[in-house]
Symmetry: C6
Subunit: 214 residues, 6 copies
């Protein structure tokens, strides 16, 4: 029954790694979204046998962050002068669906800002291009998996509140839920103010960063 | 029976978001076309599991707007110096067909002009490259869905008038219909003169915007 | 039985729109080829669910026009500095075959020259790269459809004359036939000397238009 | 039974048009290879529903001509500064196989040199990258088709001589055969010294044609 | 039963060649990952009939090394100014799966640093983008194959320790196991401080290596 | 039974043409690998209906030669400023497998060095990226085909020696075998010191060949 990477929550020492919640026919599991950057030309690489819907979620997350770069203190040149790679272990397990949307968005925001991700946090929810968070399925199984993995905080779409109400309260003890409507709320909860230790020091090509005027 | 995003009409605070009407075997629904831009090189991204016909509708809408940029007060450099992303939630639901043509065109026009979209407005109709609006199917189901969602104004092709006449009048109460032949009429009805709050401030690369002469 | 856009002939106020004749298992229909240009880099977009043969017809038409640009008074820079979009409504109807060759060629020639297209004219015929016009099928059904749509002039390949002879004369009344061997004859008949109202004013990038010498 | 373009030999007034011989289950036919150039960046377009093997033949022909440009008096800049289109009517008929190799090579050589093609000449034979001519099938049917079409001279591979010997001599009357081993012999026979009337006047971009040294 | 290249361990005279362990239905085998570089533009070539998962492993390995280039003393310009080719013999045998992750990462690190690979070493383990090493299957068969091939040291994921405990100790004699959590440990064990004889002398294009600032 | 080009060995007057040995269900045959270059930008073209494995062999051969350019006296600029085409007649016969590896490598080395290929020589063997030669199948049939074709020298992998020992000695008379481990041995045997008559005179673009420093 091991579909995703079954181990417990790990740590938040690295920027760009966020814990998601997956749901398969054999139950819930936590999974890790890993985002990494390196100097380049804005190339995007997706790996981990991601399906079409999940790839589109990643692209939607990136477009949202690009259009909100200023308010997130992200230098816009990073999108053209760094390559971005998003990987979802385990490498041989096919994955699809929109429910990793907020998790991918948070991982990308963390790697571009080098801000630390809140510890023992997991999340699940679809995103839209304007930043709405939409409800997803498998909530009960996902919550059980999060508890087994040692998660303390879970972010869900407000419209998934009804799914929580159907779960026996004993299963919910010790987990704090954060119900959100918009990804700005997700980032407020998930990204700490402090940067990770040894953050990437972004550098930019002078010539390419010439001024634009209106 | 939830195929598209079933909630009610939302609001018109953002540029680039327009309400469309969809029709499936289980009835009508409203759907949202979301258009977003960010500094770039004119790349187009389409997401939301769109089929070939719907992707071609988007390309036709863009070509129409490019050829009419001047009359719409769109600076032509925006097409080369900004990337455009069009997303149609829900992300996992396959969508196809030409009937979102006028909705996509309006969303793109709104995001490039930053003009506000009329509130509580929905629309459905195919476009052609010269701007003609063509009739589409499922009118009855779409109208019922629009009413459920709180829509006040609906734009339809003139050639869909006959479909309206077959609907019992009690279903039509409280909705105003706008029958059009051409997308210029659609934009006149759908786009307000005022811009959204906090509009995108377009900036352009000096070097790339060198003059052209004839 | 509505396969293509069934309405009557429209008008010739726009450059780049030419009426073709299609033939399906349910009879003949008129269809419109729409060509549109906008500032760009010579990109070609084809839409309307066109099949491989029809796409190749479009490419053959473009190559012919490029090689004959001088004699048609087309500034060669237009091919590199403008994008071309060809759309064939209705957007959801798959279309294929070589018989729209002369219609596409005329639409493209009109949009590049901004010359008006003769009113109430329709045409059908395959083209080859050296400009030959070749015969096509479904002539009888196509002519009936043209008459229904209010067409006055029809251009056909000379080798389709035999097909006309088999049609009862009563069906041919009021339509004038133009039998041609070469696309230069097609353009002579189809393109008026006058330009459309409000023609596109072509502008060119100075740097890219540097002189070439032999 | 009309598979290819059934008419008779046409004329040799245009550069880049060469008569080939095809063989299908319903007999032999002549076909025309049309090559056309226009100012561009060295793009190659192939049309006429050509299969993989036939496309590779075209690429092999081009590579041969590029490597022999100097001896054929072709300015090497033409390969980078002009686009090449090869079309084989009829546009809707799928075609494949290597036997049009020498015909395509001759058409391309004619269009790049603007030399006239010998009148009433047809040919069939595979080429290899070093210029060898290899034997092909269907010789008897192809010869009958050539005769019907009014062809006077036929170029064949030397190793196809045995196929000729099996044909009744009455069928061969009035046709002169040229048996060759190498494409240089093909070009010597097929290309006249004179250029066509109104040859393309090649022009080159100064900047791109900078000198190379060893 | 010969699926991979069955011979014994070879030598470590070349940078970029690392011994992996594969497992098929007919037992374990050693295989060689070969990485090679040459001046270029950062192109990646993968060969040896690698499946999607294995290709993604290679891309993940490269992204990890790019993001850690500084700490590994790799000049970042090498990623843009050299091409990288990864080949896995035998060329006709399809291969897939994530278990060559650490082997590919080590081969690439060796070729970019020109550091010698520890002799008589083999390894198997999946990598993730943040450098975690994950457990893989077929451990018993892989170890037997390594012993037959003359391997002295084997690197495995810590979470594969339990698989070792189930193997009869007599099979383990003479092989030293290194259990790791992170690829930094893999590189510490596998890459010697010394470079190979006749290392590649990297050269860089001056213009392209212009400074970047923050 | 004619699968490949059945004629006898030809000659070695051209650089870039090397004789290989193929093996099909109907016996062995010789085949010719043809490599050709022309001024360009480093584009690679493969033709002759080559399968994936054979295409990867070609890419592996090229990468090996690029990484060994200096020791083979190949100016590295040739890889960026010349296009390479590899064709394997007959054009319509699908071919696959890794056994043409050393033949392709030798053909490419000959065309880049313009060195003559030893006359009446044939070879078969897989290559790896580090230059190892690996054994291949069908040795007996291949040797018989080589003898029929007038071949005097055959290069094989050392690990194919055992296959020779099983052949009746009468079949081996008059053929000299060269058993090798590494492609450097292949090139030593196959490439003569002298260049072909009328060798290509390589020229290079000054601007692009700017110096690199470390
Ligand atoms: Ca797991
Ligand atoms: Ca899909
Ligand atoms: Ca819904
Ligand atoms: Ca389709
Ligand atoms: Ca219609
Ligand atoms: Ca097709
Ligand atoms: Ca015919
Ligand atoms: Ca094929
Ligand atoms: Ca083996
Ligand atoms: Ca796969
Ligand atoms: Ca043969
Ligand atoms: Ca394959």
């Amino acid at each position: 029954g091991e579909v995703f990477d079954k181990e417990i929550y790990q740590d938040n020492s690295l920027a760009g790694v966020v814990t998601g919640l997956a749901w398969t026919s054999v139950g819930g599991e936590i999974l890790f979204i890993e985002a990494s950057i390196s100097r380049g030309k804005g190339k995007l690489t997706l790996s981990g046998q991601l399906g079409d819907v999940m790839k589109e979620s990643a692209m939607t997350a990136i477009s949202y962050l690009k259009s909100q770069a200023e308010s997130l203190n992200i230098d816009h040149r990073v999108f053209d002068q760094y390559d971005l790679h998003i990987h979802v272990p385990a490498g041989a397990v096919p994955k699809d669906g929109p429910s990793a949307g907020i998790t991918m968005l948070t991982a990308i925001a963390s790697v571009y800002t080098q801000r630390k991700v809140r510890s023992r946090l997991a999340m699940t929810g679809e995103i839209t291009l304007r930043g709405k968070v939409m409800p997803v399925g498998g909530i009960k199984e996902k919550i059980l998996a999060a508890k087994r993995a040692g998660i303390d905080d879970i972010i869900l779409c407000k419209r998934n509140m009804r799914d929580i109400e159907e779960i026996d309260e004993s299963y919910l003890k010790g987990v704090q839920f954060h119900f959100v409507d918009h990804v700005s709320e997700v980032l407020d909860i998930a990204l700490l103010k402090e940067t990770v230790a040894h953050p990437v020091k972004f550098t930019f090509d002078n010539e390419a960063s010439k001024s634009r005027e209106n």
